[in-house]
Symmetry: C2
């Protein structure tokens, strides 16, 4: 399962994309709109800043903003930053001491194929693809 970190990160990025061009967006606003604890979001946003995906400005009038345009982010990089990896098994991690079974392992090829598939899926999706055509819905 994708953890709340990855999912919330995605929602923060979407929220910021929806308010692109409005300057710095305070985390408080995002937390209220998304109905997520601001305190918890701090942890997530910290990672996004550290990873260079967001830009944070302190002080009054401060807040967060996207470092790039929404179509220049992939969902994959956002998820991977917060989740650590998308690999389904440790054997596929770079730098993993290759397991002694790897030469004869009958499941490894499947995990590889699977990993390539999901990697392609998430890296093929842009943040802008998630924004939808709907702007705020005004009808009741």
């Amino acid at each position: 399962m994708i953890s709340t970190k990855g999912r919330y990160a995605l929602r923060v990025m979407i929220d910021l994309a929806q308010h692109e061009g409005e300057g710095n967006i305070p985390l408080k606003d995002i937390a209220e709109r998304q109905d997520i604890s601001k305190k918890y979001l701090e942890i997530i946003v910290k990672e996004l800043v550290k990873g260079g995906l967001l830009h944070g400005v302190s002080g009054k009038g401060g807040g967060y903003s996207l470092s790039r345009k929404p179509d220049e982010y992939t969902v994959g990089e956002i998820l991977e930053l917060l989740e650590g990896t998308l690999a389904p098994v440790a054997c596929l991690l770079e730098g993993a001491d290759s397991c002694p079974r790897s030469d004869t392992c009958l499941t490894l090829p499947m995990w590889k194929e699977y990993y390539e598939m999901i990697h392609g899926f998430f890296y093929g999706k842009k943040l802008s693809d998630l924004l939808g055509s709907r702007d705020p819905v005004y009808y009741i």
Copy 2:
């Protein structure tokens, strides 16, 4: 990440498939061949029996055997039995109180698409697909 339960279950099933027609295979043998603690495998195998995927026979000369032919199992059902679900987010689980955001959630369609993809992947793979063409390798 797929846990050891799912991965070990797959290896048990493969091992049994490789020794199909040899009657009851003691768990001890599987544990030794796969180099996994027999005690831990007991937990996994219990689930496989409970799920009807394996048949266990007690007593001397007992052991485990496949309930069906290797091409009548999908990898998906094996993994799902041990992992609980393959769904990437709780929102997709049947019986989940549908989240209040579900109508407007911009990420839900992506999770759905993702779930359908991985479900198709794992349910499209049969246990027999994993056996490979190589029988035991005899050369040094």
